[in-house]
Each structure stands twice: as C-alpha cells, then as structure tokens.
C-alpha cells in the first residue's frame, strides 16, 4: 500500500468510526407528523429533568431570558418550561447525553422542530451545546444576550460537530 493509500486510510477509518457511532440504533417508534419540520427554533435553558425513556429520551428545561440575566417568565409571571425529544436513551447515552451529564441546572442550547400546535416541546435537530461551568463559582458560564451556549468559550457539543 503506497503513502497516498495510507493517508486515505488514516482519514477514512476515523470517518468510518464516526459514522458507526452515528448510525447506531434508535428507530422512530412513533410518527413525527406533529412536529413542524419547516421550522427550527434555538433555545437556551437550564435542565430540569432528563427523562431516560427507552424509546425517546427527553430533556425538560427552564428557559433562560434572552438577556441571559435570569430565567424567562411568561405573561402569567411563571417560569417557562420546554421539552425536547430525542432518540432513545441508550442511543443518546452514546453521545454523552445522560442524566449524569445533564444534571438539574445544566445550562445548554438546543435546536428543535417545534410542535405544530405551538406547545413548548420539540424534536431535537443537530447537536446540543452545553455551556461550560466556571470552576471558581461552580456555576455555568452563560452566553451573551441573544446568543447561545455554542458561543461561550469552552462550550461542549454533544451529538454532533456543529451547532
């Protein structure tokens, strides 16, 4: 095998391994007709609950205000909760998305196709960006106003290479 082939092999093997990770299990167990696949919303919030369902794991989170200075509140003065549905818990665990990595209070950003009926729930699109934690305060480093966790130096992407 010549040098060129070895170089190609060196590039292709990681590619194959990466793809292997990506095609590992999880089939849709229900129709996704209820999601509006023509719309994508990007939201940043703090994890309230990771629901490790075998079929479709969910992350429930409290929305952070666009100015990133507090939690968002609705017209009724209550905090706004959203949820995002993903593949099965076993599949997303391979991407590092678990109850352990998304403990309560973990700040992250996610893109999703929202429900057609306007409810605060969607199906995940692409990677999840986790905001880094400041070791000095043990609190998350928040993005600037109107930006998301992917913009924060030290952010982690899970389940994809781009946000």
């Amino acid at each position: 095998m010549n040098q060129r082939a070895l170089r190609t092999l060196a590039m292709a093997v990681p590619l194959a391994l990466t793809l292997t990770l990506f095609v590992t299990p999880a089939l849709p167990h229900h129709s996704f007709a209820m999601y509006d696949q023509t719309k994508t919303v990007t939201l940043t919030g703090a994890a309230k609950q990771f629901v490790a369902q075998a079929n479709h794991a969910e992350l429930h989170f409290i929305l952070i205000a666009p100015d990133r200075k507090g939690l968002a509140k609705g017209p009724d003065g209550k905090y706004i909760e959203w949820g995002v549905e993903m593949a099965g818990a076993a599949a997303v665990a391979q991407q590092g998305i678990t109850a352990e990595s998304f403990k309560v209070g973990t700040v992250f950003s996610v893109k999703m196709n929202p429900l057609r009926d306007g409810s605060n729930f969607g199906s995940r699109v692409g990677a999840i960006a986790k905001c880094p934690v400041d070791p000095a305060t043990n609190k998350p480093k928040l993005p600037e106003a109107d930006k998301h966790c992917d913009s924060v130096p030290g952010a982690t992407l899970l389940g994809g290479n781009t946000f």
Binding site: A5, T20, L27, Q37, N55, L115, S119
Partner: protein, 440 residues
Amino acid sequence: MRAGWFAVSCSFAALFALVLLSPLPVALDAQENGKGKQGKGGRGQVDGQLQPPITGAPFGRAATPTFAGPPAGMQALATDLFTSKNFYKDRALWSDKRYFRCNTPRQITDSWTSGRIGKNPPQSAAWGDCNIDYPREKILSPYPYKTAKEHYEALLAAAKAKGGPTVYTKATVPDWDGWYGRDNSYSSSQWTWGTINQVPTILSLLTPEYQKRMVQMNYHEGVDNAPQWNASFCYPEGFMRWWSQASAGGNFQLTMNVNQVQFLSGLAANFLRQVLIGKEHVQKVPQWYGETIGFWEGTTLVTWTANIQGWTISHSMFEFSNRLETVETYKPALDANGRFIGLDHEAVFYDPEAFVAPLHVTMRFLRAAGLDNATRRYTYIECLSNLRNVNGHPTQLTAASDQFIDYYGRPWAKNWEKYFEAGWDKPQDDVPQEILDIFK
C-alpha cells in the same frame, strides 16, 4: 487511486462490521437510517436526534425514487387515493397501482413526514416507482397445506416416520443461545415490511373485508395525515409486527432449554415468544403474541403458533384476524467451514379470514454474540407515551395538558395534588433550587 479506494472500502467494511457487532440489539436495523442520493424517504434517527427526511436509504423504507407526477409511460387516473372524495366508492380502482400513485405502503405511511405529500396536499402527493414490486407468487406459501394444523401435523408425522421427534437433554439441546439480528441481505424479499410492493399486490393477498381495511389505513395515513401507529399510543404491537421492519422484532435474544425456546425482542414494546417443546395448545382466549408449541426434528425446530389476537401491522399495511396461525421452522445456518452463524427461518401464515391463501416469508438471523457477552443487555421496555388523538391526529401532549402524564414525576401525587390538595398552603418547589441558584 485504486489503493485509495481500497482504503476507503476497508474503512466502510470496518464500519459495517462494527455496526453488525454493536452491543445493542437493535443495531442491525441501522440500515433504516441509511443515506444516499436518490429519492425521498422516511424519517429516521441518526446520531441520536430526530432527523429530517433522509434520501435514498439502501434498504426498502426509503429507497425508491420520488416522482412529482406519473413516471414516464404512466398516466394518472382521473381519481386516485389522493384525489378521492370517498375511497370506498373506488374499489374497482384498488387493483390499479396508479390509484396509489405507485407508492409502496411504507411510502404512503411516510407521505407527510417524508415530504412526499408535496406543497398542495393531498393532491400534490408524489408518485413512486411503478416498476417496483415483489412477485405475488413468491409471497404465497409454496406448500399444499390449507391450515397450520394440517401443516404442523404433516411435519410431525414426517418426523415420527424417521423415529422422531428428537428429544434432547439439557446436555444435548442445540446451543443457539445468543443475540441475533436480521441478515439484511434478505431485505429484498421482506414483503411484510411494506417496502418492496405495490399496494395492489398486497391487497391481492387479502379478502375483500381486509382489503377495505387496508385501503382505509392507506387513505387516512396518506391523505389525512392521521397515522395510528401502535407505538404512538402504546397499543400492543401485535403478533405480526414481529415481522415488520421497524419493530426490531427480528433482533432478538434467544435462550433455550429442553422445555422451551425463548425469543425476546422489541423496540417500542416487548415481543416475548416462547416455543413450548412437546406441548399442546391450551389457551382458549387469543393472546397478543399467540401460544406456540413445537418439536425438534434433528436440529430443525418446528413451531405452530395459534390463539393469536387479531390486530394490525399498521404503517399502511394490513390487519389480521384472530384466526391467524403460523407454522415456522428454524434451521441452523452454517458457514463454509460448517460453523454455526445463525438461523434460517421460515414462517407460513394461515389466516382464512384475512388472507386469500397461506403466505410465507423467509429470513436469516445472524448470531452476533453469545449470551456470555459482557456488555449486551435486554432492557425491558415500558412503553410510555403522551401522544393522544386530538381532532383525529396523534398529538404530543405537554405538561400544559390535563391529560399529560409525567411518568417520571410521581404522577400519582400529581393527581392527589390536583384534586384533593387544591388551595393548600404548600412549599413552592416547581423550579429546582439548582436552577434558581444560577442567577444568585
């Protein structure tokens, strides 16, 4: 250049091998998430997210091209499934593949989620490839038997004629224990997946009543975007879903002893099939996955499943009745060196109420690992859903709905708090303190 392609090929061979050997039992169905360049297809999940429609999957579910209008040489009917005002009145057209715009059942079920429905639904629904079809004669059982009982007893008599059935001891029972997955090289004959046939070919296997039921499903999935998938509502999967593509029923954990052979599999719900060796049917009420008895003839396992609850394969395929019974055989598949690699399986379906004749399908299940594998687990599936029909359409409920069940949030307590603790002065703990502390 050739060496370069060799390197790439090696890598993808490695990829395929790794997928095949993935520790998760559903890994072998990852082909449903395949990518390609032609045609629009069903929605899959790749890299753990819910993906937009994928194109040109290498196997069935999404492989056929999409045509905006009738393919060359085809003329649209004046009335078809997507323009009909009452499909019941169109029965004379049901045998014409143009009535379904040459879409396979799977393509119809995915009409809305794959984008096949077009921009002016339902009239703008895409056409499929009119040349795709799996021969009806290959679906029909090749055997002369009219009933499962007749079939099973004939095989049993043949075994007895040879001195059988074979009776094993704990020490001699065949060692088939392990984790199995479907051999995807058989996908081109899996008509039960609904991916390789024109709809009229499947309809031709059904009695008039069951034809009507199937077209009803085609219409409401393809035209009304009102799919009623079993798993959406945590309905039982039903017996024949074991043979559907997405159920992953054929990717199973197999354990066996002298008295029974057990197949455990599932994705949205669990499939538990137990072959009771040397027993008789005793259950008088239909069971969701039937009651299976069997015997050994040498290393061939012969089974007869009866007492099955009628149900549906769903996904624009067909329903089956309580009269469905199967005779199945499992034979060891060996490689060139005589090494056991899996099981060759044949199922013959007898349902005189739903099918016009007995049907059959074959599949090879490859053993990917033994039960001694250190990391494989069968995770028992509790189907949990917050999808309900709202105005006829499956709708994901959220916490804002009265009907929403927070399965992981002490739902029993939610009920008490709503109905019996209203107005009480209680601690406000809706938002975890960890979240509130972020902004302190």
